[in-house]
């Protein structure tokens, strides 16, 4: 079974390497990417409801001649696999219309999927690292296609940083426990030291764009092809969190850290980092004018919430974190794809240049609207359930620093989502000549919206899905039925909420539709007598300088952020490099003297 999936993915990858047409390549990729999804769904009986203990290998062990690559599926890998592989067929459906020519997106995307499949199924560290690096290599090539200097440089540098951190961590684990096989390391967990865990968590955090290791994300998210970015933000960042989940809870690193520091300081630090990511990411997001950069910072912020949950580590927090991860995978993919669809029709990325697109592209607007509801955690979406669990976990643990920051970031999420809605889709209609996005694009986006709706009404299904993962990792789950989540302090009945919302919304909608309307010209409402030409075209736009007061207050503090730190580091390194090249004077006599000096130094060192 596994051999077949790997073979299909690799054959499809090599085949699409030589296909010029984007359409045919998309169809091949779509079929190939359905394979792992079908397999993952097929394993649902093992993990969906009933418990499955970690370390007991499934019958799907896999080896090719020679070295045994230990591949087996565990319950938490399964949860992440459902999340990641459900994204792919819709993304390829979207790509069918997005790419007319195959620019290398399809083959390397398929290599990337192969790698992700391998990472999630790995049950020894060599396999994990091999596929991790394969993922880094193929995603780097996908970034390379974008031809943007900052994106290419930052992505490769951070990928390599993540890889070497993980490799050193693996080497440490190996030298401490004498084995690379997961289940054996878990048995020898008492020998594992803190440094290995910290190194590996840091390495995985790079992929999850956790601050301060996020510096690559704004460049890459804003320049690479949208379908890839949708997968990068939705899927690959979760692979990083899978690694962290493995290190912290399956190993279990959190306990080791706790014992070493004699308190929960290390995991608390992770939660704080997550909360700060959420906070600063949100602030940066609502000042961005570039739609893709806005979404990039929003990704950093939303991924920060997951780290908060991992840091708190209680069953409530973990349920919230995994729920948030799942939601984020889908709503952020939809938003990136919607941004891609808008750009596909208008060719523009700047919010200040867009506006009124929703009138012409109503279905794209609908998909994006629903994703934004989920992102802003409005109670009629599954996003609310996830954040609510996280907030409650933070409150019940009395985290007085993290809770308010998260709440502020939650409101901030609404502020920048509002800019997407108002600046891009609503407002003044500036695009009369565009059409709705092609059908495959819309179908792809709506397929991705579907889970958000399902888990809005039935959050219990989601908690069932993660049940065995949480139980196997020794965290424990929270009590729930299909509609009701019960925590220690409260219970949340989604059915009641949905019905309540319906009761309010449907009459409101009917009143909106049926009332007598007076159409007010768009330019009327804020001009206040000023001539329209006075400010020029862009400055009149509602999204321009929308949050200027807030910007003026906080921007001076954010200017000294991580990216300027890395830039300074780069420049300093450049000066060191220039200085070091002064050693190479270009004069043979100098070099000869170096040889003689070297000789005397080593003679002296060896003899004395």
């Amino acid at each position: 079974m596994l051999e077949l999936i790997f073979a299909v993915l690799l054959i499809a990858a090599f085949a699409t390497l030589f296909i010029k047409s984007g359409r045919i390549a998309a169809i091949i990729s779509l079929i190939a990417s359905a394979m792992p999804l079908i397999a993952v769904m097929d394993w649902a009986n093992d993990f969906g409801i009933k418990a499955f203990s970690f370390g007991v290998e499934n019958s799907m062990d896999f080896s090719i001649a020679g070295i045994t690559m230990h591949l087996s599926i565990t319950s938490f890998a399964w949860f992440f696999a459902v999340m990641v592989f459900s994204l792919l067929p819709p993304i390829f459906l979207f790509s069918y219309s997005f790419f007319e020519k195959n620019n290398g997106f399809f083959p390397f995307m398929l290599f990337l999927i192969t790698a992700v499949f391998g990472i999630l199924l790995a049950s020894d560290f060599l396999t994990l690292f091999f596929f991790w690096e394969l993922m880094a290599a193929s995603s780097f090539i996908l970034v390379y296609i974008s031809r943007d200097k900052k994106a290419i440089m930052s992505y490769l540098a951070f990928s390599v940083l993540s890889a070497v951190l993980i490799l050193v961590g693996i080497a440490l684990l190996y030298s401490q426990s004498g084995t690379l096989i997961f289940s054996d390391i878990v048995l020898n967990a008492d020998k594992v030291t803190v440094s290995a865990i910290i190194l590996m968590v840091a390495g995985f955090a790079v992929k999850s764009a956790l601050m301060p290791l996020h510096a690559w994300a704004p460049f890459v998210y804003s320049k690479a092809d949208e379908p890839f970015v949708a997968f990068l933000s939705g899927g690959l960042s979760k692979v990083g969190y899978y690694g962290m989940f493995f290190m912290l809870f399956a190993l279990p690193g959190a306990k080791i850290l706790h014992q070493y520091f004699n308190s929960g300081v290390a995991t608390y630090l992770l939660a704080v980092i997550g909360a700060i990511s959420a906070f600063i990411g949100t602030l940066l997001a609502f000042m961005e004018d570039d739609l893709r950069k806005l979404l990039a910072y929003s990704s950093i912020a939303q991924l920060g919430y997951i780290a908060v949950g991992f840091g708190i580590g209680s069953s409530l927090a973990m349920a919230g974190a995994l729920f948030q991860a799942f939601n984020h995978a889908f709503f952020k993919s939809v938003l990136f794809l919607a941004a891609g669809a808008v750009a596909y029709r208008t060719g523009k990325w700047k919010i200040s240049e867009l506006g009124g697109v929703g009138y012409k592209m109503p279905f794209t607007f609908m998909a994006a609207l629903f994703a934004i509801f989920a992102l802003a955690a409005i109670p009629i979406t599954s996003g609310f359930a996830a954040k609510w669990l996280l907030y409650e976990a933070a409150v019940s643990n009395k985290y007085i620093f993290i809770t308010p920051i998260m709440l502020i970031a939650g409101v901030g999420a609404f502020l920048y989502s509002f800019r997407i809605l108002y600046g891009v889709f609503l407002g003044e209609n500036r695009h009369d000549d565009i059409k709705e996005a092609p059908l495959p694009m819309i179908a792809g986006m709506f397929l991705l919206v579907l889970p958000l709706i399902i888990f809005l009404i039935f959050p219990g299904y989601m908690l069932d899905m993660m049940h065995s993962a949480l139980v196997d990792a020794g965290i424990g789950t929270i009590s729930h039925t299909n509609y009701v989540i019960r925590t220690g302090t409260a219970s949340y009945n989604t059915l009641a909420v949905v019905i309540g919302m319906m009761v309010v919304m449907i009459p409101a909608f009917l009143i909106y539709v049926l009332r007598k309307q007076k159409k007010v010209d768009f330019k009327d409402n804020f001009l206040a007598g000023e001539p329209y030409e006075f400010y020029g075209y862009i400055s009149m736009h509602a999204a321009n300088n929308f949050y200027k007061p807030i910007e003026d207050v906080i921007m001076p503090y954010l200017r000294k952020g991580a990216i300027s730190f890395y830039t300074a580091l780069y420049n300093a390194m450049g000066r060191v490099s220039d200085a070091s090249r002064k050693i190479y004077t270009g004069l043979s006599q100098d070099y000869t003297i170096y040889i003689i000096i070297f000789f005397f130094i080593i003679v002296g060192w060896l003899i004395w």
Partner: protein
């Protein structure tokens, strides 16, 4: 009947026959190189199956006679050198003198790795060095001559150091046979032993591009034509770093290993840091080569302590030989200019920074496993630092070459693609044959 002698004798003889066959010299040279590559495959197969070969020339038994000693690693290195030499020669468009020098250079490099006699090693060093000086200058412009002269000056200083080192050993032990020396090295006067080691390390280090003996490297690589820069990075430099490994094994003292580790770290750091801001493409690749040689030396300096050292060094050598040679082949013009060059560039860079499915991945894996075995965390930190530096400048290199430039010359980019595919094959082979299994099953 494959004997290692043929691999040295045939190209040497062919080189001297070259003036007689002026017209078809390119086909002649190519077929000789191909023959040598096939011989090296057979030799490797034989060594792999039957164990190391020790062969005496002209009937004298050691320690008196000259003799060749071939083990797994040296057979593999001979294979790499001859294989890449064959592929690389396809790009040659020069006259018969060039072909002759090229054959001599290959002979010398092959001889260095196959010989079991320290004086023979010196002779082969001289052969390959003299041929390389001339090959660098064969581009016949100002920079080529400048690079060649610097290379020649430093190379001659280096070879005199080496000769003195050999003389000291001979005066003490009355033997030139490597195995004989290794067996009796402890009977030497310790001061003489250290002195001879220092002379030999300094002498060979010039060819092996070790810091601070590598002043010639940027100029020579920049001045040489692309295919000669490529030749330098898989031929003489790889043979000399192997010679240093042999030197370390002969002396086999913890101090010499420690020294090699420090020199390796210095070479790695200086090479990578110098390459970081280098704008000239060929010089950047040259500095990067220096860094990689440091990495190989670090791997070799762990030979005594960990069994991961040899595979680590081997995979880094393969990765560097194939990737850097192919990058040099496609360098020297603006932009990649075509799909073949683009993928060669990508594959080469990914191999050098150690990503699968390239040989560099296994090099990095084994090296860090070895370092973890020895718990040398400072070295691990240095490697993390240099890997990130390397990633940044190679990303800049890749981006710079994206721009519209001259269209690619398939005569260069196809041989480069063949070379870089060796790295891919060697990256996938460990998965098929149980080369990595030792780590898992240990």
């Amino acid at each position: 009947m494959v004997t290692p002698v043929l691999m040295i004798a045939i190209p040497l003889l062919a080189a001297f026959l070259m003036p007689l066959i002026k017209k078809a010299h390119r086909y002649f040279t190519f077929s000789i190189l191909l023959l040598n590559a096939i011989l090296s495959v057979l030799l490797f197969a034989k060594v792999y199956n039957d164990g190391a070969i020790y062969e005496t020339i002209a009937g004298f038994s050691p320690p008196v006679g000259i003799y060749l000693a071939v083990d797994n690693l040296s057979a593999l290195l001979a294979l790499i050198i001859n294989l890449f030499a064959t592929i690389n020669f396809v790009t040659s468009k020069k006259d018969f003198k060039f072909s002759m020098l090229y054959l001599l250079g290959v002979t010398g490099a092959t001889g260095i790795v196959l010989t079991g006699d320290i004086f023979n090693m010196f002779v082969f060093f001289e052969i390959t060095a003299v041929a390389s000086y001339a090959l660098v200058a064969s581009k016949k412009d100002e920079k080529a001559v400048e690079g060649s002269i610097k290379y020649m000056i430093l190379g001659s200083v280096g070879s005199s150091f080496m000769l003195i080192g050999i003389a000291i050993i001979y005066s003490q032990l009355k033997s030139l046979n490597l195995y004989d020396i290794a067996a009796r090295i402890s009977s030497m006067d310790p001061k003489m032993m250290w002195l001879s080691f220092s002379f030999l390390l300094t002498g060979i280090g010039v060819e092996a591009e070790l810091f601070p003996l590598n002043g010639w490297v940027p100029d020579a690589y920049e001045g040489a034509s692309s295919n000669i820069a490529s030749f330098l990075s898989f031929g003489p430099s790889k043979a000399s770093i192997y010679a240093i490994a042999r030197l370390l094994i002969i002396f086999s003292m913890s101090r010499t290993y420690e020294l090699a580790l420090y020199v390796g770290i210095a070479t790695l750091l200086i090479g990578e840091v110098a390459a970081f801001m280098q704008k000239n493409e060929k010089r950047m690749l040259a500095y990067s080569s220096i860094g990689q040689m440091g990495l190989i030396l670090i791997a070799f300096s762990l030979i005594k302590d960990t069994s991961y050292a040899i595979p680590a060094a081997f995979f880094i050598i393969v990765s560097h030989a194939s990737a850097k040679s192919s990058l040099f082949l496609i360098s020297g013009k603006k932009g990649f200019g075509g799909i073949t060059s683009k993928y060669v560039g990508l594959a080469g860079v990914l191999s050098l920074i150690g990503m699968p499915p390239m040989a560099g991945f296994w090099g990095k894996w084994y090296l860090l496993m070895g370092i973890a075995d020895e718990k040398m965390w400072a070295v691990a930190a240095v490697i993390i630092f240099s890997a990130v530096i390397e990633a940044i400048y190679f990303a800049r290199y890749l981006h710079k070459n994206l721009g519209e430039g001259e269209s690619e010359d398939l005569g260069y980019s196809i041989p480069a693609a063949v070379m870089v595919s060796v790295s891919i094959v060697m990256g996938i082979l460990p998965l098929i044959y149980n080369m990595a299994g030792g780590v898992l099953n240990a």
